[in-house]
Subunit: 407 residues, 2 copies
Amino acid sequence: MKHLAWSIALVSFGLVGFAHAARAGDEVSPAASNVPGAPTPGIHPDRSITFTLKAPDARSLLVAGGDGLGTGPFPMTKDAEGVWSVTIPPAVPGFHYYWFVLDGVSVNDPSSETYFGYGKETSGVEVPEPGADYYAIRDVPHGEVRAKWYLSKTTGEWRRALIYTPPGYDGNPRTRYPVLFLQHGSGEDETGWTRQGRAQFILDNLIAAGKARPMIVVMDRGYAARAGTPLMKVGPGSSPLDMKPGFTAFEDVVVHDLIPTIDASYRTIPDRQHRAMAGLSMGGMQALFIALHHLDLFAYIASLSGPIVPDPNSKQPLAAAQPAPFDTHTAYEGAFSHPAAFNGRVKLLWLGVGTAEPQLFRGGIGAAVQALKAAGIDVVYFESSGTAHEWQTWRRDLKELAPLLFR
Amino acid sequence: MKHLAWSIALVSFGLVGFAHAARAGDEVSPAASNVPGAPTPGIHPDRSITFTLKAPDARSLLVAGGDGLGTGPFPMTKDAEGVWSVTIPPAVPGFHYYWFVLDGVSVNDPSSETYFGYGKETSGVEVPEPGADYYAIRDVPHGEVRAKWYLSKTTGEWRRALIYTPPGYDGNPRTRYPVLFLQHGSGEDETGWTRQGRAQFILDNLIAAGKARPMIVVMDRGYAARAGTPLMKVGPGSSPLDMKPGFTAFEDVVVHDLIPTIDASYRTIPDRQHRAMAGLSMGGMQALFIALHHLDLFAYIASLSGPIVPDPNSKQPLAAAQPAPFDTHTAYEGAFSHPAAFNGRVKLLWLGVGTAEPQLFRGGIGAAVQALKAAGIDVVYFESSGTAHEWQTWRRDLKELAPLLFR
């Protein structure tokens, strides 16, 4: 009976996979990102990972994944019962997107929760980092994550933002809070920072330790199209100019729809000194693009692995081999052209990147930091050691960034 | 480059599928449940649905789905470009789970958002119901849906509940509200009522129309195992006695962990006259099981398509062909044995079922209603016309039930 099939699923997870995940003398653990009861993906003590899928009639099966999972795809092999499996080499700690390639088609692993990435729901595997409990759910006061619907005049549509309210928000009805606007990356959505990023637990832990000021965090959807126009479609060959219509529409959403909604709905401190914008990858581009254009609204600006785009009107593809030169007199329409004035007005300019990220990110960010420092612009630069263009980099970034905000 | 693959995905959705979804003279629309930019599943005006998947190397591809989608599975056919497609007969309006069977393996459709059902993330397709706007997001004041983490003494683990707070909750800090505890079905989780069920919009619309009293709705995860014990694994052959350990653990979570957490965290009216419990399918079983055992805590009780289990210690499989006889003197451990006292104490007993549901549900619920009425127990019975064991039944149930609560 279809409506009872769930039970079958739970039972079958128990039967399939465990034998494949276990090796002699090996304490294998189901990944925290698995659906309840699913033994695989299974994480070994050395961070190698076992994947399984029952597919007796498949002719080929691979595991492939995002940055940080390793240099796959990894071919799987089939046993007599039709269960395919592979144990891949030790992965970098953190959250990694992955998928199966089943007879040539990319599909999700039914044993995994799904996470919005690559423009669709994607499997993910959480690999623990020894000693890192800053993103764990711990026995400290917890904030809430609220889904807030609002009508955007810019797009003409209802949008959903996710809002972190800090511990004690409801219990202290006279307290007002600063606000961090925190954006996801390309292909992700407003759920990324709490599901993949665990931002709410990072903030809970920092606030409990007295390391970060209690703040509201607003996570909106970084896509927008003006009413009556289609959603932007961009790709690796797109230039900043190609991306501009979507970015400027989102800019108007933030400035004219989102900030007024947040200030009207939550107990914010509604001034620039108590408003930050940060984002990862595409969201970092957006944070620089929007906040540098609106220093009247934001005093704290951070780009986490965001490609540096000195000229928003450039027709050069974003993924071009060489980053554009960074001239502090002209970059970002002259935002940095008066260093003393900039330093006086902007409380924090923060740039971060992982040491294992490709040149598109690392090269451009490094060159920008060097040029900004040479010009006398105050910039905080953080490198995440050994991590790529992936969520562990951005979790670390948030842990470093949040304590510097609103001080 | 992997990190830019999202863009490719968005673009490729634009290229694949549209040609297959369109038929002559036909206004096909992407389902509201699709990921942004994906043209299929495409809904035709007659509610037939076109599915597509690019899989040049696959040997067989089917579409299969949950109750209400039709009598599949439906074989798909491949065109010269390797894109498989099928248009299935008109479906019942509402939300339907579905999946592809790709060379024998059940996989999700990358074009669909995923919804937790069948114990895993599953594709879903939203088929509009003409004239039904009670679950649409409309231009009325909206409540929030909050993720609330709490430590359960019963299970020893952190749990997450989703909390609907009605429009105006934050703006009226002296107002207190009644609380509806609302449970999902088997194989689903705490996200079901807001993602598949659109409960937040149903409540927003009812409250805006003055038809329902503003209330807090608590949607918890209906699975629990006592600290140190494994999560229950039950199946179609399970009996009420088999399910009892999981149900009693969840009962303790609700009574000893969840209700105290909610009353301490939100402005509730913390008494039985302002507390309801309802649930669908397994959640309906739980609502009857828990609330009838705790009439000191609940004055409003509703089971939506919940299998009727007169004897919680029965060893008869739940999916047995014949529902157990309903003796009002002994059913539910004698909860109904004194009708006048029951009617005086319980403000609402509500049972609902869809007319297209199988006998397991319809027969047992019908027999219980008949027996309860014959014994003089006040019971409200609602039939959803033409819908099966599926979300459209439960959306309609909530629309009918909510106005009767806390009056």
